[in-house]
């Protein structure tokens, strides 16, 4: 069934892409999908847009997507919104601020729920990015939940991280310094039509000119007035593609193994009870029991 789905996917069936993303988001058949979606195409550029709630991430992503379509680039958007930790429910409303181009095959928008307690993006998003790249999109715009610290994780997923702040952020900026400013490749003072944008821009520049900081461009953008978008795109295009997680990277493989192990633990809790029981009866000590579990999970593979 997965083979059929993947052959439709590689025949450029958009509904097959949608279903592949659903399977990934549900954590279903991940091993088979990883094998079936081995990268054959050139790396698509992944641009993450991050920043606090209400700073205008969806709006900017929408404007950027439109601009890129005009420039002839195909664009996929992965828009993450938070999911309730109590019910698992979510309202995914990012499309409200995104362009509606129903006839345009070069724009794909997918709304995703990010589990609370995880990162600022949905689970397995690395595999979704790979699927979209394999489907042939030139650019992947990744919009985070905007939850603060966890957003630093997007650095591992994206080639370029764009951090949004808004005018009159004041002391907020000091707080940002410790985390997000360090991972940003471009800082955008968004809503630049509001008063105080220039001051915020110089404050950010000042923070970033401290010793040890990288050279980061700080731009003013107003999505409402459509100003600064071209400059933002020029700044993004000027940056080198980082290939942050290349498939030939040892770190990549180690991280992948950790992830697979974590998935196996989560999906096969039923199988571990014999080991747990022996540990409870003190027939195994803690180290022996963990070793036994690891062996068991490795044996179970495939």
């Amino acid at each position: 069934m997965l083979d059929e789905l993947l052959s439709r996917f590689y025949a450029h069936d958009r509904l097959a892409l949608a279903r592949v993303l659903t399977l990934i988001s549900r954590g279903e058949q991940l091993d088979a999908l990883r094998a079936g979606l081995l990268p054959k195409k050139e790396h698509a550029r992944v641009v993450a847009i991050t920043g606090n709630a209400g700073v205008g991430k969806s709006t900017l992503v929408g404007k950027l997507a439109e601009l890129l379509r005009v420039k002839g680039k195909t664009v996929a958007v992965l828009a993450c919104d938070p999911q309730s930790p109590l019910t698992g429910g979510a309202v995914l409303g990012d499309r409200v601020r995104m362009p509606s181009r129903p006839e345009d095959p070069g724009l794909y928008i997918r709304s995703l729920a990010a589990t609370s307690g995880h990162q600022a993006v949905a689970e397995h998003i690395d595999l979704m990015i790979r699927a979209l790249a394999e489907f042939g999109f030139d650019l992947i715009l990744l919009e985070t939940v905007g939850a603060g610290q966890g957003d630093t994780a997007v650095r591992e997923l994206a080639d370029i991280v764009v951090l949004l702040v808004q005018p009159e952020s004041g002391d907020e900026l000091q707080w940002e310094k410790a985390g997000l400013l360090e991972v940003a490749d471009v800082v955008v003072v968004h809503k630049a039509d509001l008063a105080g944008a220039e001051r915020t821009q110089s404050q950010v520049k000042e923070l970033l000119s401290l010793p040890g900081c990288r050279d980061v461009s700080v731009l003013r953008v107003s999505s409402a007035k459509g100003e600064g978008l071209d400059e933002l795109w020029s700044a993004i295009s000027a940056l080198p593609t980082r290939h942050p997680v290349t498939d030939s990277d040892a770190q990549f493989l180690l991280r992948r193994a950790q992830q697979v192990l974590a998935e196996r633990f989560r999906d096969r809790t039923g199988d571990v009870t014999p080991v747990v029981d022996r540990w409870k009866r003190q027939e195994l000590d803690e180290v022996q029991a963990t070793d036994a579990l690891l062996h068991m999970l490795i044996q179970q593979s495939r």
Binding site: V91, G93, R95, Y108
Partner: protein, 136 residues
């Protein structure tokens, strides 16, 4: 998590109908019941709705209409869904629908019509019992 495989539901306002209080109430109720609700905003064209349902791989489409245009827009949306290969997506209609039109909409393939005053748990219960026709 109570709901490891949450249903994905697109709730849409179609055409020049700006009455979105109802759809927002339903959006929140479904979220609180553990569903994933995709809300693309006001003034959607039927074509835009189909695109959203397709790209989001939705299990259900709920159309909210309070403008009296349901006998024009609902048949059009259903026709486009079928043409797009989305026959498996369940369709619900909510809003101001005269009783006489309800059987006509059901004949077209609408799964249920929820009028004003429908208790929210009724919608939740309906979706829970139907589940997904996509990911059976």
């Amino acid at each position: 998590m109570d709901n490891p495989l949450p249903l994905r539901i697109v709730l849409a306002k179609v055409g020049l109908d700006g009455h979105d209080r109802g759809v927002k109430v339903v959006t929140r109720a479904l979220r609180d019941a553990g569903f994933h609700v995709i809300y693309p905003g006001l003034w959607q064209s039927p074509e835009a709705v189909i695109r959203t349902v397709a790209d989001e791989d939705a299990d259900w489409l709920g159309i909210s209409l309070l403008s009296g245009t349901h006998m024009t827009l609902v048949p059009r949306i259903i026709e486009l869904l079928r043409a797009a290969g989305l026959r498996h997506v369940g369709v619900l209609v909510g809003g101001i629908i005269p009783e006489a039109d309800v059987p006509k909409l059901l004949d077209l393939g609408v799964a249920r019509v929820f009028g004003p005053g429908t208790p929210l748990p009724e919608i939740v219960a309906f979706l829970r019992s139907e589940g997904s026709r996509t990911h059976a």
